[in-house]
């Protein structure tokens, strides 16, 4: 665990301690379970985003994709009555296709990630709204899918299965990002795509793969979100989720210039964001301040991290000078 991640962990624990001191119910198992459920949902989303950010890209359409795929998923199983495993596979495939198209536009047609995914943000939500004619996709009363519900919204030994899913995904993705050849390529591309190309890396394919991973994870979390709310108004569902995901990655030490960040960081970033949301409710802070609290904490976090880096570099410099002055050989 890097120092950055450690700092974030300490921050999470301190905030948790303060909240507990004010309202001890923060530590109730049910509260932890509720919050970790949402950590699971947003965490999966954020890991996907992290893979794209590492390459120096960005995926702004996440929220709209959550709305579109969530709508389709519920429509498939509740209205069209497809078997849910089939619907599940279809949705994941759609997520992969969306990622592939984005990656293709970005790497082959050389469009900027911001532009491509901004258009995606606009288009997918529009399609979702058109699909439901601006209505709501939801289950009928009493419509049940016990297995699916257990997997998505259920708990095992009190731990939400969505959180367990996040842990599994995080472990796999940690290995992919930090230990695999592919992960190394991602970092290299994020640092200097041109030089990576000159080293014989097929950068186009690697970047495309990053967008596909993001698409698949977003599709997965779209299903989780759909099963959590059990009803989707495409006009508002998932709005701003891309910001949550980006914020989690940034808090977790990712640079939007690419080539920096760790998987543990993005998970911790998600945890902190959800802790903040929970805190607003538990401490009875007006809900209008929810976003402001989030923004303030991100800003402070990033600032402290940055200033701490500057401070450390400066101290090293001074130490080095002092050491040299003291023990400079006369020659």
């Amino acid at each position: 665990m890097s120092k950055k991640d450690l700092g974030l962990l300490v921050l999470i624990l301190v905030v948790g301690a303060v909240v507990t001191a004010i309202n001890p119910r923060f530590l109730l198992p049910i509260n932890l379970a509720n919050t970790s459920n949402l950590i699971g949902l947003f965490g999966i989303l954020s890991i996907g985003q992290a893979f794209v950010i590492i390459t120096g890209g960005i995926e702004l359409s996440v929220g709209s994709v959550v709305a579109l795929l969530g709508t389709l998923f519920i429509d498939f199983i509740a209205v069209r009555e497809l078997d849910w495993p089939l619907a599940f596979v279809l949705i994941i495939a759609l997520g992969a296709i969306i990622g592939l198209v984005h990656g293709w536009l970005i790497t082959r047609l050389k469009l900027q990630p911001f532009v491509v995914t901004l258009c995606g943000l606009l288009i997918y939500r529009g399609v979702a709204r058109f699909y439901t004619a601006d209505g709501t996709a939801g289950f009928a009363f009493g419509q049940n899918f016990p297995d699916l519900e257990f997997l998505t919204a259920g708990r095992s030994y009190g731990v939400p299965n969505s959180f367990i899913a996040l842990i599994i995904i995080a472990i796999v993705m940690w290995v992919v990002l930090h230990r695999s050849v592919f992960g190394r390529y991602l970092y290299a591309i994020g640092k200097n795509e041109e030089a990576a190309k000159y080293s014989g890396i097929r950068t186009g394919r690697i970047v495309m793969a990053a967008y596909v991973i993001c698409g698949v994870l977003t599709a997965l979390s779209a299903i989780y979100f759909a099963m959590y709310t059990r009803s989707i108004s495409p006009a508002s569902h998932g709005q701003f989720y891309e910001l949550y995901a980006i914020a989690a990655a940034v808090l977790g030490g990712f640079s939007l210039r690419g080539g920096e960040g760790s998987l543990i960081g993005v998970i911790l970033g998600t945890v902190l964001l959800q802790e903040l949301q929970n805190l607003v409710n538990l401490l009875g802070i007006p809900s209008s301040l929810n976003f402001a609290v989030m923004g303030g904490v991100i800003l402070i976090g990033v600032l402290v991290d940055q200033q701490w880096g500057v401070f450390r570099a400066r101290r090293q410099m001074i130490d080095a000078t002092r050491r040299n002055v003291a023990g400079a050989p006369a020659e």
């Binding site: 290995v175 230990r179 695999s180 050849v181 592919f182 992960g183 190394r184 390529y185 970092y187 290299a188 640092k191 200097n192 041109e194 030089a195 990576a196 190309k197 000159y198 080293s199 014989g200 890396i201 097929r202 080539g259 570099a313 090293q316 410099m317 080095a320 000078t321 040299n324």
Partner: protein
């Protein structure tokens, strides 16, 4: 009046600038250590030293880009403990950086007078564009530019961009012009022009600090040579003592027996390795190129600025699109849709622009070296750090890369060591064809000799080596054959017996080489 008179007369004049006890440290490195020197008006100082000796650091301090940790800089009798860029420009110091600093989205004129635009009257600070054009024209003429003032810089070749940089330095009503390796990507004709420019500056009583690894250039223009070694002053040579061997001795602390020359090929070259037929590049789509490189030879590749050598190299490496023609390796036709294809077939490129394309500055030495061959350093697609480090350690000792460890960030290495890392990553694999584009650009004399040795060793091991170089001595000294390019076409290939500066130059401008005996006669 002879030269010694001049120096006596000059020592009486107050120095324009003096440095005293300047020290600069980077984490883990002492770049400058108690360095002192003076610059007098109208004096041309040659500044030499090995890669990483601290030359650029020194100049950056003078340019106000970095501040020294300790020490004073005295300009016109006023002492500072560090300059800002504004202060530096304000006191008449013009600076051509080692790394180019141009704005691709602006035109040549805007670049030359950037930060010092002529203004129209009025509070809005509007640029007087016609006046700007008037001011730029003579400068471009002076550096011998073959491009216009309103050409976008993005459309210029590296050498042309370097000319823009020089024109920029001339445009400042400077009292001291600092040129940090201005000739590193200039071919011979342009280099001559630059040396003339330096002499003209001197005549106007403008001082010049000229940094170069091409010692013969320094020999020709410098009034005094300052030699840096490991951040300290290794010695100063007055005009009458400036010669190659003296400089080398001070730089590396020992005498080199003779000009380090690379040994000739031990055996005859093998069969054709890489063969290009009717290949067209985007630089000269109307000119098809044929070129053969044989196993075991070093084929030198000479030509003037923008003759299209780099473009051809990039096409052969699969980075740039090929417009027609075919490329074969050992008789097999290659696809070359991407650099990955080229690497897979054993064609490697050491690119011209080290920092942008050669290495990843943010990665460690080991990570850079393993990058093109990562799957070989992995089990089940998982990278084995120990395998990586083993490979890197081996290359580090083979090539003599100077760095604390293989985990060092390559961004902190000196140019020569960075170049060795680029070479190392390819040497760690099995090259069949090695293309080197200006492999010794900005490399000090010691490292140069090592790189020549490496190229020869590669050739002796049967690798086909294609060396693009604008350094005439290098091309003639190292190659087994020389191909010369003129406006996108191979204008001729010289065999060893026909090697001469004149022949290369004639071919480079599209003329026929002189017959062998005429060359002999001329010498």
């Amino acid at each position: 009046m002879n030269y010694s008179d001049v120096s006596i007369a000059q020592s009486a004049i107050a120095p324009f600038l003096s440095l005293d006890g300047v020290r600069k440290t980077y984490p883990g490195v002492v770049a400058l250590d108690g360095f002192s020197m003076e610059v007098r008006p109208g004096e041309v100082i040659g500044l030499v030293g090995e890669n990483g000796a601290g030359k650029s650091t020194l100049m950056k301090i003078l340019g106000g880009v970095t501040r020294p940790d300790t020490g004073t800089i005295t300009v016109d009798g006023v002492a500072h403990d560090g300059l800002t860029v504004e202060a530096s420009i304000g006191s008449g110091i013009a600076f051509v950086h080692q790394e180019l600093n141009l704005f691709e989205n602006l035109d040549v004129a805007a670049n030359i007078f950037f930060g010092r635009e002529p203004l129209k009257a009025g509070p809005l600070k509007l640029v007087d564009r016609s006046k700007l054009r008037e001011m730029v024209a003579p400068l471009l003429k002076r550096v011998g530019a073959n491009f216009s003032a309103d050409a976008p810089v993005a459309s210029l070749s590296l050498a042309q961009q370097q000319m823009v940089e020089i024109a920029k330095a001339l445009s400042i009503k400077a009292r001291l012009v600092i040129l940090d390796e201005p000739t590193s990507s200039l071919p011979i004709a342009e280099t001559e022009k630059l040396l003339d420019v330096i002499k003209a500056l001197k005549a106007e009583a403008i001082s010049v600090i000229f940094i170069s690894h091409r010692l013969h250039e320094v020999e020709r223009v410098a009034d005094r040579v300052v030699v840096l070694r490991d951040g300290m002053l290794a010695g100063t040579l007055p005009k009458n003592q400036i010669n190659h061997d003296q400089m080398v001795k001070l730089m590396i602390g020992r005498m080199l027996k003779e000009r380090e020359r690379v040994s000739d090929s031990a055996h005859a070259p093998g069969g054709t390795a890489l063969s290009a037929r009717a290949v067209r590049t985007s630089a000269y789509p109307e000119r098809p190129v044929d070129l053969d490189v044989r196993h075991g030879e070093i084929l030198g590749f000479a030509g003037l600025v923008g003759s299209g050598r780099t473009e051809l190299a990039r096409v052969l490496f699969g980075i740039d699109e090929r417009f027609g023609g075919s490329v074969t390796l050992d008789g097999k036709t290659l696809k070359l849709g991407s650099a990955a294809d080229a690497v897979a077939s054993g064609i490697f490129l050491v690119p011209e622009d080290r920092k942008l394309t050669g290495i990843l500055l943010d990665l460690s030495i080991a990570e850079n070296i393993s990058l093109p061959n990562l799957p070989a350093h992995a089990k089940h697609q998982l990278v084995s750090t120990s395998a990586e480090i083993a490979t890197a350690e081996k290359q580090k000792s083979n090539l003599g890369i100077k760095a604390p460890s293989v985990a060092t960030r390559t961004g902190t290495l000196s140019g020569g060591n960075q170049q060795k890392v680029v070479l190392a990553k390819w040497l760690a694999m099995n090259p069949k064809v090695m293309i080197l584009d200006e492999p010794t650009r900005g490399i000090d004399i010691g490292a140069k000799a090592e790189i020549y040795g490496l190229m020869r060793a590669l050739a002796d091991a049967g690798v086909a080596v294609l060396m693009i170089s604008s350094d005439m001595e290098e091309v003639i000294g190292v190659s087994d054959r020389i191909a010369v390019m003129h406006e996108g076409q191979i204008s001729g290939i010289l065999e060893k017996d026909d090697f001469s500066q004149e022949n290369v130059l004639r071919l480079a401008v599209g003329k026929k080489p002189l017959p062998a005996q005429a060359v002999g006669g001329a010498q």
